[in-house]
Amino acid sequence: MTDTDARQESQITYQTIHRQPADLRAMSARETGNITAAAAFLKPARRVFTLGIGSSHHASQMGAWFLREAGIDAIAVHAFDALHYPDLYQIGKDDAAVIYGHTGSTGFTRKLLDALVAADVPVVAIGSLQAEHPGARVILRTTEPEGAATYTSSHLCAMAVTAALAVELGADNLREPLTAIPNQVETVLGKQAEIWPVAERAVDQRIYAYGAGPNEITATEMMIKTREAAFHKIDGMAAEQFLHGPTVAFNAGDLAVVIRVAGAASERVAAIARVNQAMGGEIWTIGAPIEGIEGLCFALPEVPEAISGLLAVVPVQLFASRLAALKGTNPDRFRMDDSRYEAAFRRVGF
């Protein structure tokens, strides 16, 4: 075992990433009844708002994607915006809300929950086994409270439980593929060593992550995870949006992390990757290999595009964890082990 291996294996982040198959299975077995109950609240709603902040915002975006697969008129809105601009969203009794809050006590998410409950909006909350979401009609439980600031398993489970909710609401095409996800996550974790050389090169690289459709969200999640774990310069956005302007600053030697899975956007994402390669960039593909691309591909099992983010997020997490180990940063603490950062962040307040 190398020093880097040892550093990585001591991370709570790393340990939590590896707990995910077990957490998914436990959640699936435990939450069946709650999922049915939650679906009953969401089904008659005119619109369903999915709401969160940080990684929970990304889970809420993915959640909206899943619910739309079931024909629900689902809208992801940042919880900060929904709280501070209530007149603009007019969330009412005939709507419903799904609130993503791991602890249930984060400031704005909690205030938003209180406001929605006071307005008699049916709320389904998604949080940890100990999360308090007073007033929520149903709480879907994900995992034990995370010990690392880089929420990983709770994030994956929050997405997965919403996918199960979508199945309950009519997305039958996802039912069978969803049952395979825990084993597939285990398979992905078993290939983690394929990621280490990519992370090693990335230590000195500027990184741009992109994907399309549901995997735009995976790309932005990679940005959060890599920044908070490894304090690294990385951006993440939708592939097509990246092409229309932001890619101009892409330089030779930069790393493009291309999340490309089978689906409606597959060819276009591949074409954009070829553009970045022609600019002299290095390409790391997650999903399915791209013809003409020289970089490594971390292959994922093929699943319906709608739920492909449940698998694609795992190599993203592992990459962030490895990069942190290589750079010697502590991924678990949100840099709060540095008194300057702790003071600055606490002054703002979560």
Binding site: I224, A238, Q241, G245, P246, M279
Partner: protein
């Protein structure tokens, strides 16, 4: 400053300066066609706004403006709108507003085709020469841009959306909207004030933030700074930036924030204050000076709903100065470099 590239004679520079005149034209002569377009979409249950690149950012601002008018308005990229129809279902009760400056980009064309086939009402916003087949009304912005860094067309698209918002329920915004050209002229007259901050930022990694309707302004800065100046710059909503993405910031970076009076101001100030506290120089723009020890570029007071239309201009000027300082060509999308010309030639934008 690089001698090889245009600066004040660049098209971007000239187009930025043309904005008060372009805005005046729309606000003096553009209400009749705006009213006709508003009538077409007035009865819709939902209004989808769709575009790509800078036009997507205009769609985001338009979403805010129409929500201020009481509408259920949602912005989605034209790529997603065209590629994932089941995710963004459109029916006879829906209206679509397509934003496409030229009207010829592939995914915008596909989005328009889909909207024309499925939506109850379709209008569009584009240049004076844009062709939008299937649109029931085209709201014109300005002459077709010849710089790749779209500035006036972006602002004018937002003015068109603001006119629609006024006509669809936000009548209270009308008087302030009419003051826009004068305010724009005031801002542009102070062009040189922004050079110093841009010089300080030009060798740093820039993080830009904004909140509420000014989040798209931060995102727009990223596009402008990257395509005009090839500058390393990222942008996010302020609160989202704080929940993770802020962690790498240090004294080698640079912070930009839109500080505008409104419900999100105090939080935005606190977050950009943390960036400052961690050693990064900061530059803020908006009608509220956060008084955090950075440089503030004050924009004229205006209601928050309309403020992106003002705040985007200092952002454009900042990006222009970055280009001038870094010696990059702001108009060409880096196509003067054959490597990039060849790379972009691999596909159709």
């Amino acid at each position: 400053m690089g001698d090889a590239f245009p600066t004040t004679d660049s098209v971007m520079y000239q187009t930025i300066h043309r904005q008060p005149a372009d805005a005046s034209t729309l606000l003096e002569h553009g209400w009749a066609d705006a009213e006709a377009a508003a009538t077409i979409i007035a009865g819709a249950n939902r209004i989808w706004l769709t575009g790509i690149g800078t036009s997507y950012h205009a769609a985001l601002v338009g979403g805010w403006l129409l929500r201020f008018a009481g509408k259920d308005a949602r912005a989605v990229t034209s790529f997603d709108f065209a590629t994932y129809p089941n995710q963004y279902p459109v029916g006879s009760g829906d209206a679509v507003i397509l934003l496409a400056h030229t009207g010829v980009k592939s995914h915008s064309a596909r989005a328009l085709e889909r909207a024309a086939a499925q939506a109850g009402a379709v209008i569009s916003i584009g240049s004076e020469s844009a062709e939008h087949p299937g649109s029931q009304a085209i709201l014109r912005t300005c002459i077709r841009e010849t710089s790749a860094a779209y500035t006036s067309s972006h602002l004018c698209a937002q003015i068109r959306l603001a006119q629609l918002a006024v006509l669809l329920g936000a009548g209270n915004l009308r008087d302030e909207l009419m003051t826009l050209p004068d305010h724009l002229a005031t801002i542009i007259a102070r062009f040189a004030e922004i050079e110093g901050p841009a010089r300080e930022a030009s060798s740093r990694h820039i993080y830009a933030i904004g909140a509420g309707p000014n989040e798209p302004v931060a995102l727009e800065f990223v596009i402008k700074a990257r395509e005009a100046a090839m500058q390393q710059a990222d942008g996010l909503g302020a609160e989202q930036y704080f929940h993770g993405p802020i962690v790498p910031v240090d004294e080698n970076d640079y912070g930009i924030a839109v500080t505008q009076f409104g419900p999100a101001l105090e939080r935005t100030k606190a977050i950009i204050g943390a960036v400052r506290e961690l050693g990064a120089p900061i530059w803020t723009t908006g009608d509220a000076d956060p008084e955090l020890g950075g440089t503030h570029f004050a924009t004229p007071p205006i209601t928050e709903a309309l403020s992106p239309l003002l705040n985007v201009v200092p952002i454009q000027i900042f990006a222009y100065h970055l280009a001038a300082i870094r010696g990059t060509h702001p108009d060409r999308f880096r196509r003067e470099d054959p490597v990039y010309a060849n790379a972009f030639g691999l596909l159709t934008l």
